[in-house]
């Protein structure tokens, strides 16, 4: 029983970490989008 509870803990911990990491990937996409669009606007002005 103890092993199953530990397994659930690992599973939940993995999912929580996965959720956070996926959030981080989403944030990276937003930052990259912002940087690239700023650069393209800057290039357009010069």
């Amino acid at each position: 029983m103890k092993e199953i509870i530990t397994a659930f803990t690992i599973a939940l911990l993995t999912y929580a970490l996965g959720l956070l990491t996926c959030g981080l990937v989403g944030v990276i996409i937003l930052i990259v989008k912002k940087i690239v669009s700023n650069r393209e606007e800057g290039t357009g002005q010069t």
Partner: protein, 402 residues
């Protein structure tokens, strides 16, 4: 000439007699199953890229069992269980696939090469255009990857073995290879073979799951492909480099996978023609030898693992749970968006690029022939690859700590 037995002329048939009757029967069934898989691949009912090499070698390797030097039964294909240096040296000189197995399978190289090839054919447009929707669906479609771990532990597997089986729910062959090689090398063969055979079957099974869970009227919800914004190559290239570095920083154990996938994407987006052509050929070659070697590992002398039946059941459960999770996430997205999102794109989040996205499109077209949801399904499909790689990285890092 010293012939004591007429059977010496026919060692392949003789080995049948020398086996336990149950093993002989299973060997015969494996030969039939191999030929059936070849037929299904040839007829395009299952993925021919995998089924042709796996099925063919599976049939041939079980035909080609003979009596080896020590009187044991074996083949001249590959022996994955040999580890003692002197025996390994003998095996490398005798078995024609042994060098390929030892230098590309046991260190995860084949998984990384396939993943690099997947990177170069992956179109990030749809994922980057709607990242949070894609990631939400992909996280839903990891239900099997998460729930199968405690299930497997309850059935008597260790944490490392359970994690290796659970990652089948991510529906990405390279990740299954990588995780089982890192965590449960002794179960690598049955897990890897089961995963690849099941991934080939996904195409045939998921439509039934969809029909069971998604009402017909919801399957016909149109989604305009023009809604997806055009993503400039520089944005995709920058994302690939940054994401590769950041994810490697978080999960160094899975860094080879991240490196290969995002390098493949970077090559695609940087448009270096020579690299792209080479990686296309590399993907074809790696997939061919992967299937060929996996089939050779399906010899009855290797697969007779007492845990194999449980692994087969858990693998199927993992993939079904992931499909259900993806479709539930699709239904949530449909509700939250006020009915604008077709819940079928949730099945694409199971990953297995691009099979599941094609399944979503196919099921939508069964209801309305004019509908086009494939571009929208590709976003979650690619997100599924990334989330599975992330969960693989977490499992490989976290599980050994318990």
């Amino acid at each position: 000439m010293n012939i004591t037995n007429i059977w010496d002329f026919f060692p392949g048939f003789y080995s049948f007699i020398l086996m336990e009757p149950v093993n002989a029967l299973i060997r015969f069934l494996l030969i039939l199953l191999g030929m059936f898989l070849v037929y299904m691949g040839y007829k395009d009912k299952l993925d021919p890229l995998l089924m042709l090499p796996i099925g063919f070698t599976m049939a041939v390797v079980n035909g080609g069992i003979l009596i080896m030097g020590g009187g044991e039964l074996g083949t001249l294909f590959v022996d994955p269980l040999v580890s003692e240096p002197s025996k390994l040296l003998d095996a490398l000189q005798m078995n024609f696939l042994q060098p390929f197995y030892n230098f590309t399978f046991t260190n995860g190289l084949i998984a990384c090469l396939v993943f690099m090839g997947i990177g170069v054919i992956t179109d990030l447009d749809f994922f980057i255009a709607r990242p949070f929707l894609s990631l939400f669906l992909a996280l839903g479609a990891e239900l099997g990857t998460i729930l199968t771990l405690p299930l497997a532990v309850a059935l008597g597997f260790s944490f490392k073995e359970a994690a290796s089986i659970a990652i089948v729910g991510g529906a990405d062959g390279p990740m299954v290879l990588f995780t089982s090689l890192m965590l449960a090398k002794h179960l690598f063969v049955p897990i890897a073979v089961m995963a690849y055979v099941y991934l080939g079957i996904c195409y045939a099974v998921y439509p039934y799951l969809i029909k069971l869970l998604i009402p017909k009227r919801l399957r016909a919800i149109p989604m305009d492909p023009m809604e997806i914004r055009t993503v400039p190559p520089s944005e995709k290239f920058t994302f690939a480099i940054v994401a590769g570095v950041v994810l490697s920083l978080f999960f160094p154990v899975a860094a080879p996978l991240f490196a290969c996938f995002f390098f493949g994407v970077a090559v695609k987006e940087s448009n270096i023609g020579r690299f792209r052509e080479f990686l296309d050929i590399l993907l074809s070659g790696s997939t061919l030898f992967l299937g060929f070697t996996l089939g050779a590992l399906l010899s009855v002398t290797i697969v007779m693992n007492p845990k194999i039946l449980l692994i087969l059941i858990l693998g199927m459960v993992a993939l079904l749970l992931s499909g259900i999770g993806g479709l539930i996430a699709g239904l949530i997205a449909y509700k939250v968006s006020g009915g604008k999102i077709n819940p079928l794109i949730g099945i694409a989040a199971v990953s297995c690029v691009p099979t599941t996205a094609k399944v979503a499109q196919h099921c939508a077209m069964e209801v309305d022939e004019t509908i086009m949801i494939l571009p929208h399904a590709m976003g979650p499909c690619v997100a599924g690859v990334i989330t599975t790689a992330i969960l693989c990285g977490i499992y490989v890092t976290l599980v050994p700590l318990f």
